[in-house]
Symmetry: C2
Subunit: 359 residues, 2 copies
């Protein structure tokens, strides 16, 4: 397959679906970002893509995206230039010109934000990202896991306020200070992290995830057109496993420290009619249990699709009575190292009794 | 009287007492800061003071101090260089050399912080401050009231984290972002605000408040030595009024959003034995009522002294059964303008039915 060089109008629709699936319930809805990207294309701006292996070693690449709780994104629309302002603040901070952008997380709305900002700023976006999915906290990206120092990082809200996290003792403190900042800013803001060298990004980005989201989305769209089973299509594309088809019989979800946290309980149907399932969530789906026994957990992807249409359902759109399909998709190997599991394995989310078993 | 040119070891004790009185219950305890200033003097560093009228018009003056809740200061000691690190971060932000420091609030611990940082950095401190007392929020200083833009402002905690509030839409947003930052940092940090021109400071500082705190404190110390009534001494020095002597019969105080808020109820004794009094507080004392009728409120100073010793009692040290004297002291005229009352009058604290009447 030829490498992706740019993203056009129709491809945005496919990326939207692919990114929402990879969001594992979180990451925010890519829809509004898609509409904004379309507007940029209509204006004649371009979404240029650099294949990961063509990045120059000394180019300056900035990971950026929105920060906040997905549930807030439903009611509070972005102004549209939050990430651009964060990027400009970062350029001022470093006195440098940024060569390319990359998504911190391909899953959910942050698939679109770097493409949008790239189109606005006239620079390319790198085909790859820092998670290969979505995670609730910023230190959970490969940049932080593999040694990049995210500070100074710049945040911008829709009102015009700009915060710079100048220096922190570790990556978790970037997350802590950004999180308290974004809660004050109204639970949604853009954030741009300290520039990375191209050589670092080539080694530690989850590779070609714009292409992956695009292809995944296109396959789901085509399956729907051709009356094929979209769930089968996703499983095949991502080498995944169907965990359960079930009905949501209990749903607990609340906002805590700017996160949507909670649990859903499932009663199986079809071939799973004798099973009870549960999924824990913190913005994203963290742990799937069958009959109270853990089967799949972070960093592997737990994906919830509408069992009829095959469309992904975000944690903020879960409701009592929904009939869903729960899929497990294996994560990238960069997320399965010992170093990575310290930050994004089950213990990092407070599940001290759970050991990660790659699915 | 000769203008104050430096602060020596003994003078720190007097400033401590004067500043605590001007803190109107809040501003934090100056004791630890005093000990740190002493250490600097022992090392041979100096606390040089510039009289306000000798400031050069184009010199760069930075207002800095600690930010947090006084009650936290009891259990969590500062590391000692928070304000210095905030100042250095600000110099980096502006690419400038700061000529002099000034206290954002003379009342309480922030009387000492600029003297400490000045001694550490080898630059002088200006004889004056931005409040002439203490207030709970940062936009309540004369710099903000009279048009200075506090952003970019730099914050530093004891761990080594540094946050820069790069740009805000107004002064209240500096406070909001700094407040959420300091809560995350552990409810105590140092903050340095964007440099001011000497010409601005000469016009809008509350003038000669280091001298005022020093002289007030010396008078109280002398009164105690000479067995004179220290309460009378304070009233005479500050042209104040005794509002009530009373016993604390009820005390409600809790931490809310990083502030100590609450109310104390007083039963009068002595010539006030038929009166009931109350004082509302948010870090500082805001409103004094006699028999449910407001008598003195912000921005005038409500001061609580131990009725026996005459020593000031901070809001965090109030307790049931204490016998206290409540004094009202008139604030500086820069705090009484229409512009000032919008920010520090009773309505700014949510007392929409109260009109400020200068005492």
């Amino acid at each position: 397959m030829d490498k992706l060089r740019s993203v056009n109008y129709d491809e945005l629709d496919a990326i939207e679906i692919g990114a929402a699936i990879l969001g594992t319930g979180g990451g925010g809805n890519p829809y509004i970002g898609k509409l904004r990207c379309r507007e940029e294309l209509k204006k004649g701006n371009k979404i240029d893509v650099i294949p990961l292996n063509e990045l120059k070693d000394d180019s300056l690449v900035v990971s950026l995206g929105g920060i906040g709780a997905p549930v807030v994104g439903i009611e509070k629309m972005e102004e549209g230039q939050e990430c651009l302002r964060a990027m400009r603040a970062l350029e001022k901070e470093f006195g440098c010109k940024i060569d390319a952008l990359i998504s911190s997380e391909i899953g959910g709305s942050n698939s679109m934000e770097p493409m949008l900002t790239a189109a606005q700023a006239g620079i390319p976006v790198v085909d790859g990202d820092g998670m290969g999915r979505a995670f609730p906290e910023m230190q959970m990206c490969t940049w932080s896991i593999y040694g990049h120092k995210s500070a100074p990082a710049a945040m911008a809200d829709e009102k015009g306020n700009i915060l710079v996290i100048r220096d922190t003792i570790d990556e978790v403190w970037v997350e802590k200070l950004a999180r308290s900042g974004v809660v004050t800013m109204g639970a949604a803001a853009g954030i741009a992290m300290a520039p990375m060298k191209g050589s670092f990004v080539k080694n530690y980005a989850i590779p070609y995830t714009i292409t992956q989201a695009l292809s995944l989305g296109q396959n789901v769209i085509n399956a729907n057109k051709e009356n094929k089973d979209p769930i089968e299509t996703v499983l095949k594309h991502e080498d995944g496993k169907l965990l359960m088809t079930g009905k949501i019989v209990d749903l607990e979800r609340h906002l805590k420290g700017g996160f949507a946290v909670g649990q859903i309980i499932l009663e199986g149907f079809g071939e799973y009619q004798n099973d009870k399932g549960s999924i824990d969530l913190q913005n994203e789906f963290l742990v799937f249990r069958r009959n109270n026994k853990m089967e799949v957990c972070v960093p592997d992807l737990i994906v919830v699709l509408d069992s009829e249409t095959g469309f992904p359902i975000g944690t903020e759109l879960l409701r009592y009575g929904q009939r869903i399909a729960v899929l497990g998709l294996p994560c990238h190997k960069l997320l399965r190292t010992e170093k990575a599991l310290e930050v994004i394995g089950p213990k990092a989310f407070g599940y001290h009794d759970l050991d990660y078993k790659p699915m």
